[in-house]
Amino acid sequence: MNAAGLACRALTFERSTGGRLLDGIEAAFPCGRACLITGATGAGKSTLLHLLAGLLGPTSGEVWADGQPVSRWSAPHRERWRQMVGIVFQHLHLLNDVTLLENVLLPCVPRPERWPAVLGEARQLLERLGLGALEEVTPARLSGGERQRAALARALIGQPRFLLLDEPSAFQDDGRIEGVLGLLEEATGQGGCVVVCSHDPRLAAADLFQSRYRLAHGRLERCP
């Protein structure tokens, strides 16, 4: 449990509407690795990702990060820890009233001291994801794939130690997926901990993922 990375310890989650969605999950997602979690829709993949990101509190059990039980921490400490997490939501949650570039810069707002460097990084990320010409456009006027890549840029800015991605390829065509996988490979190469939830067979076939899990009936089973 002291290893670098994320870990679940007897992680259980119940919705207030009843039913045990996740049931005593034990898993480790070490740093420098990309892990893929597959499962049917409604299996609880997004919920598990939100628990790992500290956006939801477990019903029982713990989430550990770098040997610390972060899910048990009091709210201000957890909020501070979450600055090390980049996340792509299944439903993206981009802000429609501000431009793409401003959306990407959002996670950096509490850290304005490195502003010029951060601005350069944001432009570079958008460029690499084929969005360079669209940085002044608001997300509402973009296609699904473009919006999703913008959300990926927002997750990657500041090179967070923990990267959590929920169905990151859902709106991408085959040509774009290579670029996305390349960015994730760079992140793991730099010692990041990458966890991807997806039921996209194209991701399942990718070499990037050194460990694969399957979520079913509230249990996370390791796939060979």
Binding site: T59, S60, E62, P69, R72, W73, S74, A75
Partner: protein, 344 residues
């Protein structure tokens, strides 16, 4: 007077604080006996969320109590004076309130002091992610509950007494007290000069001590901070006497008028609020320094934030002491500058 907006405001503040306190207290009673931080089962996680809410609630109780005390002092010192026949300042109002009046004041001060110490421990605990002091501040919060109840009850009694009260003789009682055999003996034993020397002579040591505590908080333990807190309380007693016997005559421009409540009147620029407020800060930070030093010694996991809080208390101590000395000496020095001599 019992229908005065300020009285109603205090009732409302007390009732609100009481309801929040009750909710927090019931939660604490349910979670403290079963607090098991090493477990991560459902019940413990629920207890941890519950405790986070309790801390939030406790801070509201403290805030509401401070506002209620401020309202009570404004009422006694200013607003209710016109409503009590014969009263010219807060001394008259307190006479009308009967013994319950000063009691509710004192009990409220103690409640706030204890809640402030609780808040200090909770804030130290906040600096650590794993809440190592949960049991300590949980119990401390419960400890202040009886004081809170007693203070509110005595406030009700005081409000009951004021209705049946005839005209009061206000500050005249102070002269009667001074002329009584006990008062004369006291006056002969400790003169105004002695009180002034105690008060102003005490300020440089407070500044030096506060400065030292601020710069070197790690070298101060619970014993010295506890001793300092006790001495500070004694000094505050002397400072109040000096305010009555030395500052008051110059502010009121009379030879002698040992009435603290006259300092709260508009004619005196409501100087009493600042003067007594600073003394309250000295008392609170003395207690905070002691509490933090004790926590730092007893709970090594929280030592770093506790030591930082000891330093903060030190800085506030010397600042408040200095400011008090300036404010309390200002009327005397201004008089000297204007008229070239002393009153006596």
């Amino acid at each position: 007077m019992t229908g005065h907006p300020l009285v109603l405001a205090i009732w409302l503040l007390d009732l609100t604080a009481g309801a929040i306190y009750l909710a927090a207290g019931l939660r604490l009673l349910a979670l403290l006996p079963r607090w098991l931080p090493e477990q991560s089962d459902r019940d413990q996680l629920v207890r941890e969320r519950s405790l986070a809410l309790v801390i939030y609630q406790g801070r509201w109780v403290l805030g509401l109590q401070i506002v209620a005390l401020a309202a009570l002092v404004v009422g006694i010192g200013n607003s209710w004076v016109a409503h009590v026949p014969g009263a010219m300042c807060g001394t008259g109002v307190l006479q009308a309130l009967g013994p319950a009046g000063p009691q509710t004041l004192l009990l409220r001060l103690l409640t706030i002091l204890l809640l402030y110490c609780w808040q200090v421990v909770a804030a130290i605990d906040d600096q650590r992610p794993d809440m190592p002091l949960a049991l300590v501040h949980g119990r401390l919060l419960l400890l202040a509950a009886p004081l809170f109840l007693f203070a509110t009850w005595r406030f009700g009694q005081a409000m009951g007494a004021v209705q049946s009260q005839g005209p009061v003789s206000c500050c005249a009682v102070l002269y009667a007290q001074a002329a009584s055999p006990g008062g004369q003996a006291m006056g002969a034993m400790i003169s105004a000069r002695t009180w002034a020397a105690l008060c102003f002579g005490g300020v440089p040591p407070i500044i030096v001590w506060g400065w030292f505590q601020w710069r070197r908080p790690g070298r101060i333990g619970p014993l010295s901070t506890g001793l300092a807190a006790g001495l500070l309380l004694l000094w505050i007693g002397g400072a109040v006497m000096a305010l009555k016997t030395t500052t008051a005559p110059y502010l009121l421009e009379v030879l002698a008028h040992p009435c603290p409540w006259c300092l709260f009147l508009r004619e005196q620029g409501r100087a009493g609020f600042a003067l007594f407020g600073l003394l309250a800060i000295v008392a609170a930070e003395g207690a905070a320094g002691f509490t933090s030093a004790l926590i730092g010694r007893r709970h090594p996991t929280a030592a770093a934030p506790a030591v930082a809080r000891v330093g903060l208390a030190g800085r506030r101590l010397w600042l408040a002491g200095l400011l008090f000395a300036i404010l309390a000496a200002a009327p005397v020095l201004l008089w000297r500058l204007r008229f070239g001599g002393w009153l006596r």
